[in-house]
């Protein structure tokens, strides 16, 4: 039992080592094989061909944080909705359809209340 339990971790360790080795090996090989002739154009940050302006440590507005948070909440809601929608059939066959349906309704309503709360508190207004 014990050996079996820890044996599973050996697989994880081997996988981890192989992963690190693959990346490290690739970088090392490139450094050894490839010629290195840097110039200004080569060293600039490439972002979809747009000319970079300003530093990398740009501040973004704190309001984005609220949007990100709200987005996350409804994203997670979707994650819960999918398996529910798929398995609702099975529950309905077992005669629990109504219960399971209204459980999700309650969940969505609670999240909706959160959204109403955010709107009422003026969180979504961009002054």
């Amino acid at each position: 039992m014990r050996n079996e339990y820890f044996g599973d971790y050996v697989t994880v360790a081997v996988f981890l080592l192989a992963g690190v080795g693959l990346v490290a090996g690739g970088i090392m090989a490139a450094r050894v094989v490839a010629p290195s002739r840097p110039n200004v154009l080569k060293s600039t940050v490439y972002e979809s061909g747009i000319e970079p302006t300003g530093g990398g440590w740009n501040q973004s507005h704190i309001r984005y944080y609220i949007f990100a948070l709200l987005f996350l909440i409804f994203d997670v809601e979707a994650v819960f909705l999918f398996p529910w929608a798929v398995s609702l059939d099975t529950f309905a066959e077992a005669g629990q359809g109504v219960l399971i349906y209204f459980e999700m309704v309650a969940f969505v309503l609670i999240l909706l209340l959160g959204l109403i709360y955010a709107i009422r508190k003026g969180v979504l207004q961009w002054e």
Partner: protein, 501 residues
Amino acid sequence: MIDYHAILPEIILALTVLAVLVTDLVTKDKYYAAVVGMAGLFATMIPLLTLALCDDLAGCSGELPRVLFGGSYVVDQYAVVLKAVFVFAVFIALLLAVAYLESDRYYEGEFYFLLLAAALGGVVMSSSRDFLTLIIGLELVSGPGFLLAGWRKGDERSNEAALKFFIIGVTGLALLLMGVSLVYGITGTQLFAELAATPQAIVDEPVFALGLLFVLLGFTFKISAVPFHVWTPDVYEGAPTPVGAWLSVGSKTAGFVGLLTVCYLAFPQVSNLWGPALWLAAILSMTVGNFVAIQQTNVVRLLGYSSIAQAGFILAPFGAAAAAGADLQQAFAASVTYLVIYAVMNLGAFGVVIAVGTRLKTYELADWSGMYRWSAGLAILVGAFFLSLAGIPPLAGWFAKLAMFSATIAVGDIWGYSIAVVAALNTVVALVYYTKVVKTAFFDPVPDTIDVAALEGMDVAPPMQLALGITAVLVLVLGVFPGLVSTLAQYSSEVVTAAGL
């Protein structure tokens, strides 16, 4: 199909939490949110009573324990009693918070919402009989606590308290989850009833003991027992004082609920492992808590260290009985007795500290000198609650101590006697600082910096009066008629018999 009567308290409390949020949105006077919350708490008590008294009621069927969701959620005598403790604690904390929040510009509606959500977590924890449900309940208690600790946004201390509490709380949770994952990995189940029936071959595995150790560590954070107690005084001091009251009672009770259920129901067969660990934590908590408390000059910090020491007293019978392999039921009843009485008197003590603090604008003990001159009523309440914490009859604290001592002595053995001796010495040490507060309030001269005439004219806000009145009456009544609490504790300890320990 689902026993709705059994989960009615949770349903009502959850609806209350939502109703508080809606009230906050539609009203201008935010204390209506608190009123809605209190009404919801009263409504929550009704199904708790009907569940407990189901046999005597017409049209009610089904005995406790009521098992739901395949054994994950059980409403038994212990759960009902502890749920009532959570509801009571949050009710008093709400009363204390109303006056406090009105005194300055704080967010109000959200405060009540979070406080009630934390109480819902405690109520869920009391019934959870598997690790997943327990941890969800624990998170529901902790999460709002982190936010509430930082409620005084402009104050650096409060920010520090919130951050410290968050980091330590999350570390505790990580340890707990680590332990649960190890136990789950080796046993393949996280249901307490199935864990209790783990075959001996698996129990003997070192991984099992390691998992248990992590689980225990996770909970010692929550109950602020040594060696994971350092956050307590800082957080109580920095957080708004009503939050300190809730953390020292509600949040701590949640930790004990988790610890008691996990130890008794999930790991009864390894009581020889967790027994000595808790025995040691109890001894260290009382000693460290009490000795550091003596040196405190700030009353809230003093209560913080006192709550560490009290956690030690609550753990004492429980750790000793398990370490010695003695009758666990009496120890369980003693722990619950102590927990209930501690909840009442500590809420009262925090209440009176808030009442004095809102007048003086300081929690330094030196400024409390001669309180009797400017408010005899508050000074008498200080006397009542602090002497009760010290364990002086006829105040409720003496019975908690008595139950604790009789349970540890009944254990017999070196484990029981040694911890009884340590507890006795600690009771004397605790007397030093509790009576110091009372002495300062009654007999010391009023310092020159304090304007007695101005202080005399100030009233205690009505909700505060109600909270102080309820706790003061209870401290007296439970001290004179301790049978009330011991009946409750005996009733709740039936869960131990039911589990066959």
